[in-house]
């Protein structure tokens, strides 16, 4: 009995390793390809060079798009953090009637197909004259990042015992002081994780931005997509490697601050 268990366990381990390879390979394969000396995006890469990294920064297309993406992400994440945290505090700490319904409403942008959100939003922004404007783009990014902020802050806040804040209140601190001196420091890791999440989600957003961008206003993912329409060369592998490094820093931060596992269960 134990021998059959053992061999089936080994078989399962090999299978799991293969699946993990399938999942991780497309992510990891961009790195060696970025250092290729070839003009085509071939694998295995031929030769070693850094010229494709230089190529990323040569034309202003990618750097301009990076600046657009970075400013939209910073602004949208900041707005999302403020309004999402306020909403989370209201929902967790004050438990208003209809709390579950409000929470569901805040998470709705996650369930809706992005293309439907994009189509609907572009109609309204079009009628308001905000299509292809920075303001419209930021509003859309606030909408898509808000669920991540609310979810992360709600889950962190739920784990902080209200009794601690109450103790400070009983000891003579006023309501505001007990919140800022007791709850806020405990909440800080969760807030940082939520902000990182919001930045990553906004930075990667593709579908909705596609409807809202225009000449002179293009986010990085869209600029890269446009580039691949005409060229498939290691430049895109180089830029992917750069993006991968940026995301990696963010993910390590989330893991350290709030635990990665909790965000997916």
């Amino acid at each position: 009995m134990s021998s059959t268990h053992h061999s089936s366990g080994r078989l399962l381990s090999i299978y799991v390793a293969l699946i993990v390879l399938f999942l991780a390979l497309p992510v990891l394969i961009v790195i060696p390809s970025a250092f290729s000396n070839d003009v085509t995006l071939a694998f295995p890469p031929r030769g070693i060079s850094l010229k494709w990294f230089a190529n990323v920064f040569r034309s202003s297309e990618f750097t301009d798009a990076f600046l657009v993406s970075a400013s939209v992400a910073t602004l949208a994440a900041t707005i999302s953090m403020v309004i999402g945290t306020l909403a989370a505090i209201a929902l967790v700490r004050y438990r208003p009637p209809g709390r579950e319904a409000f929470l569901l409403l805040f998470l709705t942008p996650l369930i809706f197909p992005a293309i439907v959100l994009a189509a609907a939003l572009s109609m309204v922004l079009g009628s308001l004259g905000l299509l292809r404007t920075f303001t419209g783009l930021v509003l859309a990014h606030v909408l898509v990042t808000l669920p991540y902020v609310v979810r992360t802050v709600v889950s962190t806040l739920s784990e902080i015992d209200v009794a601690l804040e109450e103790a400070a209140f009983t000891l003579g601190a006023n309501r505001w002081r007990s919140f800022t001196h007791v709850t806020l420091p405990l909440l800080r890791p969760g807030l940082l994780a939520a902000a990182t999440f919001a930045l990553i989600i906004s930075f990667d957003e593709f579908t909705i931005s596609l409807f809202l961008v225009g000449p002179g206003l293009k986010t990085l993912p869209l600029e890269i997509y446009n580039y691949t329409d005409a060229n498939i060369d290691p430049t895109i592998a180089a830029i992917s490697t750069i993006l991968l490094c940026i995301t990696l820093v963010g993910i390590v931060m989330i893991e350290k601050l709030a635990g990665l596992g909790k965000q997916f269960t």
Binding site: A119, T207, Y225, T228
Partner: protein, 291 residues
């Protein structure tokens, strides 16, 4: 302890009600402005006879959608893609979920990070990775050429199958996590009891573990199915115009042809399809829970 802690924040008074409303207001304003109003406007538009300056409500757009073989073909292809992707992720994902729920291996944490890795990286990185693997000079073609199975590169990109591979890749984590969540709650003693009573491992799995974990498969399937029928990015990046799904048709109607009423109608049909799947799932699980 809990009750005193709660009472501190729970007492009803007008100041508290005003505070809660004030805290929720900015968030709700964004949701109303960027979600509810747009969706209401789109719903209206799909029923109005013409845009702008509608004179009557009509089902004409829905009728013409359903009578147009172009749209029906796209809807069928989208549905087919969703079924194929759901089936593949369920079959591939089950053993991985089993491993995550039951193994005590020290590799478990690494496997977990590997499983969610597609969700952690940019869409750009993922699709470019697949381009490097499936392209004419990519990993798979160079392997096949090296072994001598093919004489010249075969076209793997820009097809239904490259889109399927890309979708399975990004959605497999959802399936694995859904199944693992349910498997983790099943007491291994059930399976061991059946095994001790003489059932073969396969019979034990089919008669005991699989039925107990069916809820996880169902939940994962609903998520994967809904995300597939609404998917836009993977079909456009890995299909490059060769695989038109519903979301791509919506983009074409809205942006390329600027036919907003038809785009609204296609969006509504996609939304209704998604809602139908979610509602059916909700009803079935509620019915099962009552038994």
């Amino acid at each position: 302890m809990r009750s005193t802690a709660d009472s501190y924040l729970r007492r009803f008074d007008w100041r508290r009600a005003a505070l809660v409303s004030g805290l929720l207001a900015p968030g709700l304003l964004v949701l109303v402005l960027a979600l509810l109003v747009p969706f209401a406007m789109m719903t209206m538009m799909s029923f109005e006879d013409r845009y702008p300056n509608a004179t009557a409500m009509t089902l004409a757009h829905y009728v013409s959608f359903l009578q147009d073989s172009y749209f029906v073909g796209i809807a069928v292809r989208t549905f087919l893609l969703a079924i194929v992707v759901t089936a593949i992720t369920a079959v591939l994902g089950y053993p991985v979920a089993w491993y995550l729920a039951r193994s005590h291996s020290r590799w478990k944490h690494i496997v977990f990070v590997g499983v969610i890795s597609p969700l952690l990286v940019s869409i750009v990185v993922r699709t470019i990775g697949w381009t490097i693997i499936l392209g004419n000079e990519g990993l798979v073609n160079n392997l096949l050429l090296g072994i001598g199975i093919v004489d010249e590169p075969i076209r793997l990109m820009d097809s239904f199958w490259s889109v399927t591979v890309g979708m399975v890749h990004v959605l497999l984590p959802f399936m694995v996590l859904s199944i693992a969540a349910v498997l983790g709650k099943i007491d291994p003693a059930y399976g061991e009891a059946a095994y001790t009573l003489g059932a073969t491992p396969i019979r034990t799995f089919l008669k005991v573990t699989l039925p107990l974990s069916i809820q996880g498969i169902a939940a994962g399937s609903v998520i994967v199915f809904c995300l597939t029928i609404g998917s836009y990015i993977t079909p456009i990046w890995l299909g490059r115009g060769h695989v038109t799904v519903l979301a791509i048709a919506i983009y074409d109607q809205m942006v390329t042809l600027v036919d907003w009423p038809m785009g609204a109608t296609a969006s509504m049909i996609l939304t209704l399809g998604t809602l139908a799947v979610l509602l059916t799932y909700g009803l079935v699980t509620r019915r099962l829970a009552q038994r």
